[in-house]
Symmetry: D2
């Protein structure tokens, strides 16, 4: 296992789905950053199931607790430990089906890698619930990068094959609260909701694409040749369970363009060098170029479905089938939005510190 | 800058396009691995321009030199330094157009990040030539993971929009040497070659998609939650200039499937647990599951084109236009194949060491 | 701040002296290690003030809590979070003298480095209490290295200038529980206790030397050229507040010997290569040589004394004097023994994993 | 093996004593630092044997070569690779005695750890010659920290038991060039030279103590709780072969002082907070306090002596004896001075970058 991420803004994740808690330690946060517990709670609530229709109906009362690193509402320079307690855990279903490895989940690989000692309840360490820790860390990162003006906003760009129209930045901010699936194209949003309803009734699940945008990035974030802005973001985002693809700007589409179309011409805008298009997604040579950062993330359909699936019984080493009971998100894409945002904030915070753009003490 | 990659199998890259050399130090290679200089040379030759038609016609006589870490044809446990000298460098064109930042290149971001001190000749540290170092390191990694049976093969899956038929593993090995563009679908290969010819005549360039496959991986490679197999591979592959997207298995396509179609059912094959499909690309929960690893890589069209492009003159801060002279690859996708293979080998070597699957001393 | 230590066995420390808690996350512990909460509690109790005479009389009721990473009494491969709550904290004295920087403490450097945002209560992050976290992590490390037979024992070798006779290993284990100062030379122990009594009455404090011994180390721990066994141990041990010197084997004494006396001759003992003396402290070329590891640690006298000291008032920037009230250890050397042991166990665990000597799954 | 050191100013060492070369890659050097090859050469020459009497008489013609990272005499932000070629190597003596492990050397531990594959010629990777790479990196670090006014000076404080009088800083700079053993106390220097002569005639060797001083350090270098200034320096210095002890300020002597004597009182000097004594060696809480840094390093006597020593024959696994022929330094302490200085510069450069005190681009 390797549960730390980042070089100067470094997060260390701990906890399990059905253990005592999910938590994170954030090291390297500059001293003097004003932090209010509610600012972190808001981000965690965004991710929370039950916040909106059509995700897990069980109610998670996720109150965050600050254990260290914040004193008189300012960061101290010391590591910040944040925890959410797990409550009302019922592991009986996992005990019942324990020997049957769930397709699309980490039951098999986890069992093999950890010699059967891994906590299998609720997926244990592989559960999407672990990302609550990422989101807490992301809230601190978001606050930190806001001191240099960076804003990070994400949305559901595609769900079950339904594609949202490309939104303007202000539409994302305005419309997203009106959508049950975090999609600013409200017409598409309605279709997505209907499709989730239908898939849920069929006992099946859906995937989609999250797009995340970073605004007001300075030129210079990214540490080539290995710690590129793309590479660091991709690594962080692949830590979100169910992510199977990451692309920047025109991405896979760029591979079908000619150079004359794909190259973003430079020109001078308000005395600054900008590009007139943004196929590169705000990144050239692995370094932010001052244009908006664009990253798109492919999320596979939720592997937990109630339809019967062929699988193997680990105890008897025989073929069998499995029906997963209980309530699971039909589509996690809307919830993944806040996690993709969090990972983006975390990486930008780390790279801004590494580039020397954010100082070691924040002076308000 | 950050020029080291990997935790136990760690490579450190150095050199510039028009400097003295391109080199790499590889630390953490177990002692006792038999290494012949020719094995490394073969990989470098694969990447070399001029090896096949339609890539850069200039001839690079890239003889690798071993500076350290290998004694009596075996690794010693000490760091291995490998170097290729740069020869017959002509930087006059770069001097001529120095103040005009090339669209699609790192000229602008490099200038800004390094305060104008960066070596701009031939793209300096951002040049594709730097990947010759990655390929040397990849050759060592390839030899190391072959001791546990892993094989890594890549090919051109798509070029300028032309898609190769999905090949069988043996076809990749057999056909690729007959293709000028590293495409085992020889019919598609012919079309790709013709398209390159045409784009070259038009002064334009093409992109494409590289697919890379890992065979015979043990179950257990990948260190979640942050150092997942996907995340580590993606980060390494984004260190290749021009890569704008990475996906695993069904990738972005998976986001449009239902769970019942995307989940790979388990069954028992020859007393081993395998899946009957491989939409997950051989990775579950960030850990290899024993099925073939599948990664697909989007490569943007070469940014160096001879068509005129709008850009900015850094010295005068005025809008201008640029025509890039000299000979450049119309499409780097065929050459990128060996680099994607190299990065894959490097990551697998690191993760196999981290999983304790490769010992610290190799005993033949 | 940098609060993580280790490469494969990695600990991340958090918490403050007068905050909610002191805690540690331990990542990289192999799955399958049997862990009982009492085993960790025993180590924490050893460090605890009040356990023996002449250290801080205040009673710390330090019950450890396991938050993650242990399931059914075995490690799971997931990160282990351990916490001790801070109770009955009275920060009034620190509030009273806040502006007067305490000589010998980190008040001044902490204030300067963190822009005055650091938690000054009880020394905050610089307090010796933070080492309770190190000791919890050390307990896990101790259990892990015991699986390959390694034993780590420490003792007070010198206190206030009184030197203990060099003990036999079995005497350390037997006598130490009879000494109030963790000194196996019981005659010297009595003198040390008397000296502490005297210094306490005078409002002054004492320092000393801790010796720590590692038994049954395999040959091969240490990763030169930079991560030597000496270097890794020294770095870890200097994380203990008040440590000002570290030496191995004959140490500074070796610098006054001739080579013919200092070199440890090899010979064959029970079919194994051993040295007939151990001036090198069990380390050659930065790597364990199979002989007992010997490290000696200089601990400065407790900086908190009740005698009046000249200092500066930060608010007024004027010279002033300070008398520190409250109860403080007259000598922390006896308590430092368990912390030095803990750091030694942590480093040996990390290096044993790095050398591939401890597997990724422990099979009992 | 682990051959990289540092987090932001990161050096990677390679090469062997009797291989092609000794080299180093330095990553993370800010762009815009003026570097002249002669500045590096001067430092390497200081370390060079033959530069002064009584060290190895063989003449090393160590001309450094810059392979990358410097363009038009300024650093570019790219990794800097520096190399010294090994010339006139005669390995015959090592071939002759190969099976006899040399007491006090790493022959035994190296053989065991690397399964016999290690390059044994001249000690291979464990040779003191490797420190030539450290010194090259140290020259770059020295130049970098000079941009914020830091000066690092070292000297022979003790040799074979002869102790130099504590020098004033200006005496170190002035007198050291007049001493054949880098000792500014010229009377002691004469005695040391005579003692070396005598030990050489007896076929024996001597050790000693190097003191290194850092002047004009800003307050704030050091990243507790684990990456303390003491810990980072100690780790780096223990990478020098033959070092067996490291202490700061009063060091082991502090352990025998009372708190009232050891605490350094604060007062205001020229509007700045300073201490009136410096028992802490310029470090409080693991962070520089603005006073001179004092570190003392115990160097064991050279293990290579011409007197006969009992040892073991690895091939036959029998007891035997060994006489080491050839010319070896009777005492390496004078040469170690420049290496201790180099390691100190390297650590200070890294910590100054980590503290945000040195910017990412140097503007002259």
């Amino acid at each position: 296992m390797s549960n730390s991420l980042g070089k100067l803004f470094q997060i260390t994740s701990f906890g399990e789905s059905h253990g005592d808690c999910v938590g994170v330690v954030i090291d390297g946060v500059p001293a003097g950053l004003a932090i209010n517990v509610d600012e972190i709670q808001i981000e965690v609530d965004k991710r929370k199931s039950g916040a909106k229709a059509h995700t897990t109906p069980r109610r998670e009362d996720d109150r965050i607790e600050i254990f260290s690193g914040i004193f008189n509402n300012f960061t101290t320079g010391a590591p910040i430990c944040l925890v959410i307690w797990n409550k009302n855990i019922d592991s009986s279903e996992y005990e019942r089906t324990r020997s049957k490895i769930r397709p699309g989940h980490a039951d098999f690989t986890g069992f093999m890698k950890y010699g059967g000692f891994n906590d299998y309840r609720g997926g244990g360490r592989f559960s999407g619930r672990i990302t609550a820790g990422h989101v807490m860390a992301g809230a601190i990162a978001r606050k930190l990068i806001s001191t240099i003006g960076i804003e990070v906003i994400g949305y559901t760009a595609e769900l079950g094959g339904i594609t949202a129209k490309l939104p303007k930045h202000k539409d994302i901010r305005q419309n997203i609260s009106q959508s049950d699936v975090n999609c600013p194209d409200l017409a598409a949003s309605k279709q997505m909701v209907a499709l989730i309803q239908q898939a849920a009734e069929e006992g099946d699940s859906l995937g989609g694409v999250v797009e995340c945008i970073g605004l007001n990035l300075p030129v210079g974030l990214g540490e080539p040749v290995f710690d590129t802005l793309e590479g660091e973001l991709a690594k962080a985002i692949f830590a979100i369970p169910a992510v199977k693809g990451v692309e920047f700007g025109a991405g896979f589409g760029a591979s079908r363009l000619r150079g004359s179309k794909n190259n973003d011409p430079f020109n001078i805008q308000s005395d600054q060098i900008r590009t007139t298009s943004n196929n590169c997604g705000g990144i050239l040579g692995g370094i932010s170029d001052g244009m908006p950062l664009h990253v798109r993330v492919a999320v596979k359909p939720t592997p937990s479905i109630s339809l019967s699936q062929p699988t193997v019984n680990l105890d008897t080493m025989t073929n069998t089938s499995l029906e997963i009971r209980g309530r699971h998100d039909t589509c996690i894409v809307p919830r993944a939005v806040s996690v993709v945002e969090a990972m983006t904030c975390i990486v930008l915070a780390d790279l801004a510190l590494r580039a020397g753009i954010i100082p070691r003490v924040i002076k308000q």
